[in-house]
């Protein structure tokens, strides 16, 4: 598959003829320098955007043949996200932020499950706190709990420690891999940190839009 964008009437090729497979339960790191195309690749893999040419099959379904709504359905049913800047809803409590994916799936507000998840990321007693009352590391823990709320088959993590100090980052990574193991989720981790990437089973390196397996 390839991805290009047009800017000022010039066609820019972001990803060039990339082919790879990720298997169920695998942990895969995609590394590369800034602007290499890591995030673009993730948006395509998660069905947030569509390829310019070629095809991506997600859980057996060709994404380019699905419309926005169908891709959203797949995401709500099978995919979890952890973002660099946490992206919690500021006006919802920690517990409510965690229940959100279940509500989007129409499963209602399963508070017990959300509480268990918050407990598993070490935030028991912080359920009613708003994001503004939590530290960066705590916010990312809430985001982790939220990502596992709907038992996703695949978890996409985009620079999950990019906004955290070293010590907190280490804790979060531990937690991420631990939860991933516990839930048997496929992990696609986007990072520029080679050390972090080494913790995954496979590392795909992207450079100037081209992908190499390392």
């Amino acid at each position: 598959m390839s991805k290009s964008v047009s800017a000022n009437a010039v066609e820019l090729s972001i990803l060039k003829d990339i082919t790879f497979e990720v298997f169920s339960g695998e942990t895969v790191a995609i590394i590369g320098t800034s602007g290499a195309g890591k995030s673009t690749l993730m948006t395509l893999l998660a069905g947030l955007d569509v390829v310019s040419s070629g095809e991506i099959e997600l859980l057996g379904r060709p994404l380019s043949q699905l419309d926005d709504e169908q891709r959203a359905k797949i995401r709500s049913e099978s995919i979890g996200f952890v973002f660099q800047n946490f992206l919690l809803i500021p006006s919802l409590t920690a517990l409510e932020n965690v229940t959100l994916p279940a509500i989007l799936r129409g499963e209602g507000e399963d508070k017990d499950k959300a509480q268990r998840l918050l407990a598993s990321v070490g935030l028991s007693g912080r359920e009613t706190h708003l994001p503004s009352q939590l530290s960066g590391g705590e916010q990312q823990r809430v985001a982790l709990a939220r990502a596992f709320m709907t038992q996703p088959k695949i978890l996409f993590a985009d620079e999950p420690t990019g906004n955290l100090d070293e010590h907190t980052a280490e804790n979060i990574i531990e937690l991420l891999f631990e939860m991933n193991r516990d839930h048997g989720t496929t992990l696609v981790l986007i990072t520029h940190d080679a050390n972090l990437a080494r913790r995954c089973e496979r590392t795909l390196s992207i450079h100037a839009g081209e992908l190499k397996e390392s």
Binding site: S39, L48, D49, K73, S76, L100, L104, E107, E109, D158
Partner: protein, 810 residues
Amino acid sequence: MSKLQTPSGAQMVMRWSWREIWQGQLWPVMAALTLIIACVVALSALAIRVEKVMTDHGRSMLAGDLVFRSANPTPELILNKAQQLNLTISEQTRFQTMAFSDKGMQLVTVKAVPDNYPLRGELILTGEGGAVQSSLQPGQLWLAERLFSLLEVKIGDVVAIGDVELRVSGKIESEPELSYNPFRTMPSVFIHVADLDKTGALQLGSRVQYRSFFKGSDSALAQIQQDYPLQAGERWISEDNQGRSADLIGKAKQYLSLTILMVILMAAVTLVLTCQHYASSRSATVAMLKSMGASKSWLRRWLLSQVGLMFSMAIIFGSLIGLGLELLLRLPLTGILPEQLPGYGWQPFVFASAVALLIGLPALGIPLLRLLDTPAIAVLQAQSEKSSKKGVWLIAVPICAFLLVYGTNSLVWMVFAGLVVLFLLLAGGSYLLLHLLSKAKWGAAMSLALSRIKRSAINSMMQLAALSGSLMLVAVIWLVKSDLLGDWQQTLPPDAPNVFALNIAPTQQQAYLHKLDQQQVQRSQGYPIIRGRLTQINGQDAKQYADHDGNHINALRRELNFTWVEQLPDHNQVVAGQWTTQAGVSLEQELAQELGVRVGDRLGFSVNGQPFSAQVNSLRQVQWQSMKPNFYVIFSPDVVQGLPATWLVSFRINDQQVPFLNQLGRDYPTVSLLDLRTMGGKIQAILGQITWSLTVLAGLGVISGILLIFTLLRLSLNQRRREITLYRTLGASRKRISQTLWSEYGVMAVSAGLLAVIGAELIVFSLIKWGFELTPSLHIGMWFVLPILAMLVVFASLSSVIQQLLRPLK
């Protein structure tokens, strides 16, 4: 996907919406909506109340809700119809006759009325020993105060009215129907309708006026007028066509509509801006929700639940605040408004909610529809903003409603069209002004500020146009009010004459005026009065010349009051030609228009069968409501000086001079004194009532405007937060940033103030000239006040956020 309807999911979404309103970015939108609803509720409730009070006032001066006036008895058809429509009916037969006492005689206006007169207003009759009554009994005779001295009678004396002799029951303290036409009013006498035949005054061919009064629902009153086609000499009189008070009420109503419209416009601008700000602040959330799999229908329901909750809250709070505001607005009117105020029903609440909904639809709908289109990918990669036409059709909703409601109101259209044109002109003007400013040499802070403004030219222009537009609306509300009140005060100043003396013989004239001057009574000049007819226009019979298409001109069918003067009265404005003191005549402009007469035409007149002619030298604008002596026809002295005339003078009597007035009546029994003190007081009361209402309304409009400007500036400053943080990160000092901000917003304030003055002067000129049909003027004070006001509001807004903006970086 979906299912907000899942109970617990729906609950969470409602909680979320609730917090978005109170803690999130939705509160400014909610505040703007609440402001719209509160203002519209308060203004329309007050408008309804004041209108009802004013209508009641107008009707009380008519003695009924509706009056049918005719030279013949009221047709049975009308009376039957009125009964069918459940209207209460009263009547009056009015004629002029001589009243005789043992010692004197006087021409009087006799009003024969039944027990139930008046249906509206107050008839206060003071009898023996000060006993007060408000209706008449058969056999009673009530006299106007000055008839007691003119006829030299007291209560209990006998006075003959035509063939009947009646004992004087007492004095007419106050009567509802008052006229201030000095030429048509004689002292009143009230008798019961049962005694009418006994007077023998109603003979074939005698000049009698019949009036029927009706009271009932507005729809029945409208129906009866619609069902009966008026014949010649018949007329319906209602508070809408009843001279001065109708004019006051009409203009006050126009001003109310104007103020409501402007407040709505200002709040709508606030709403649009806050909605846009909200939508842009929520694009990241929508992208995140989409990335987690939220479908469009879920997002639509999510936004709808927020908007629905917000609207419900805004309606509840807006209505409550509106009620409080109406109470507050009414406080200064205590004592002027009656104790038992008419209610306003549900109308203000329904109207306010409808207005908020209509404005909210495009204001919220367009940015929210675009928000729904935020791509999921925006969660990871910032997307450039694409111009979208999505939802633009929603603008048609309020426009269609506006067309439906105001389609026929030219004043509102004038304002609306003017605002659109002015907004564009202001945007262009702002650009030009900033361009000129940036050419000059400035210090570092000012240069930075100007370059910042120029860099985002469109944004700055829009901001400046919105700022100057709001200031302009504030100025318009205030200036129109001042001009209106100024005009009213001018036409009816507190020192307006309140007594007219008529029928002064030429031999008495010098002595009479001297007597007034001796008592230092403020008076007009003496005017000679000559009764005559206009007979010819340019050598042709006047009726043939002017009456056409069945257009019968009343002035040609009766005698007119002529006068002659050396100089035209100051209160008459010459609108065509020039006054000359040789062989000329000046006509009132509306009569001239009716007759088709222009300056230079030759008119033929007849006085006591003696013909003469004069050339029209000028046309005059006459304010008939001004309670000053006014004439349709004024001659230069040489034309009519030799003709026999009586004299008229108007003057102002204060309370201490009342004995002098009574003595004057006794010293000159043949001079008719028309005492307008009661009626002048009534008109002054209405004027005072309207003045207060309009001042309070204008005040509210100005406060709304200033709030809008404050919101605008705070939004604009909040949008600058990130940029300022960046400057601070790059090492810019607090002082430098602060100076730049003050310079930037200072330039904006002064420019907006100046542009607003220009715009306001243009709008006020159009409104006063074409909308209210008054004489426009320039408002020099506003040229200083508005830029200063703009500076003050900017100062307040900037001061309230600058500390936050310049907070030390973390």
